[in-house]
Symmetry: C2
Subunit: 374 residues, 2 copies
Amino acid sequence: METRRLFLQKASLSAMALAVPALTPLSAMTNSMNTPAKDSKTLRVAIMGLGSYGTRVAEAIQDCERVKLVGVISGTPSKIEDWKSNYNIPAKNCYNYDNFDAIKDNPDIDAVYVITPNALHKDQVIRVAKAGKHAICEKPMATSAEDGQAMVDACKAAGVHLLIGYRMHFEPNTLEVIRMRKDGELGDVRFFQGLCGFEIGNPNQWRMDRALSGGGAMMDIGIYAINGARYMIGDEPIWVTAQEVKTNPEKFKEGLDETITFQLGFPNGVIASCLSTYNMNNLDRFFLNGSKGWVEMQPSTGYGPIKGQTHKGPLNEPIVTHQTVQMDEMAAIIFDGKNPEVPVNGEEGVKDMKIIDAIFRAVETGGKVPLNLG
Amino acid sequence: METRRLFLQKASLSAMALAVPALTPLSAMTNSMNTPAKDSKTLRVAIMGLGSYGTRVAEAIQDCERVKLVGVISGTPSKIEDWKSNYNIPAKNCYNYDNFDAIKDNPDIDAVYVITPNALHKDQVIRVAKAGKHAICEKPMATSAEDGQAMVDACKAAGVHLLIGYRMHFEPNTLEVIRMRKDGELGDVRFFQGLCGFEIGNPNQWRMDRALSGGGAMMDIGIYAINGARYMIGDEPIWVTAQEVKTNPEKFKEGLDETITFQLGFPNGVIASCLSTYNMNNLDRFFLNGSKGWVEMQPSTGYGPIKGQTHKGPLNEPIVTHQTVQMDEMAAIIFDGKNPEVPVNGEEGVKDMKIIDAIFRAVETGGKVPLNLG
């Protein structure tokens, strides 16, 4: 936790800081004075980007115990009006893309959840950080590891959290698989397979615009296989190979990947074999194989319910709304310094971006690209 | 059917040939004179190599309608004695590896099923062909495409059939999937995944001796994923990439592959992603994905019962003993000129060998190896 250490160094200079949770920016600190116990403290969130996923998050927040949707940032005035009435958001907490830096003077907002096209994340998150607000950023966190690192650095410098929207890191069945693996129930993990994709519809959406998306299926859905390989195997890959096929070059223009198979090599000969595609349905399949047991999940990363089989029988953990749990857990990370089972911080996001960069390079070169994720 | 054409050319020179089924060697022709109808004709088989799989085939033949186990070829006299009594085999039909060329003078044997270590197949099949007997050869047919082609050429020159022991080509659930695909029920096929392997035990078996096996897991179990990709997709791959990992170099010495992931590119952007391993259990999984439907088989190539799910529901074709059906169908291929749904001839075997050669080359070079299977 670089950011935590950084804050603690700063905090040691301030007697006041000792009285408040680590890494809470000033605006929230003010508020924290009014709340009785730290574990009941509410994370007051503004959503930036009021599209379909933004709406899904807004709905999920309604069921949160510790998170409240209090603000919006949007370039579309009519959407702001809708959200004001739908979610009872005061006018003073509504911003557009020109004026949202002023959020730094708004003590009623603790964090901004950036749910905009990928290529915009970097500048937006950096502006959020400069406004002294925690940043929650949808994945992929950026369109390159370099941009991702710049976001991490900016948030660190501002003393705010940067959390990536890895909802699966809090999903109960996923966590049960991770527990099984950690407790040795699978023996030595040897192979992971992640088949992630769907047939994308409307070619005019921003995801099909390279300038906004930074890529095709890989940025959108392939990242689930990458991230899944890491949390299912519980290690970091040391090399990657990748192969691209494109059946529809008219729809999937230069720089927009349609279908990529890729392999991630991990220490001790563990291997992950993955598929990322915008040209197939019936996917969303994880398979983890160890020397003593196995786990199969299908669906594995969809919005739910997640279902799975293991050598011991079916996965039967509670079915939850992923984004509700994610947001409550993020409140605990921000206010209580909670360490989640699988990290969701900016550094975690940069690792996925480094792998995506390497996959694209492996497609180009046709060879094995080494990885060093530290 | 090159061999058939070749025979017909030869047959046209002989009035007698018109009265007998195509491609029946002289010894069987003699016998055919005594049988009332061609579809009741029995294929009289000698098994070469009396190991565990040879025994499995012998047992399966007991339930055949058109195949009879009538002879053995073995280097172990005690095994010959056991088989003579177990299967009621006359002494005159028993051979060893030195004298089995004399089988050419034995009119009571139509075919020899070669079930010996891979590296021995080539010379043995060529000797069988030269003895004028049909050759059935266990897969992999050889340890290289070059050797496989030499076997095809020898059998063609001798006017005998060469059939490879592709038992899955006759398995009812597999054939139902092929029917679904051909009838368009899956739409356009886009992706195949074959995960084939098991944790191999005794390191002293011939399969772990490169000189006899020609390779490790790929020759033994990886070939099922290769062959499966071809019959499930219904096309021939045009390129291959492959990645090898070895967790136990002491057990898996130079030239013995432990774990290889490989990808086969097919025309129209169809891709197969496969795993071949001697280091994992819980595999034997096929997945075929199309634009309109999907099929999942598990187990997909084990001795049975084969089980599967499709977008329409479970596969419910009859459970059969694969080798029994295979042998009866091979009798029909040999005596009736039947064309099986998926070929099992030597040319089919050579295609798999060319792919295996290319996989090993792709592992070495780290790049994409083009394939031209014609």
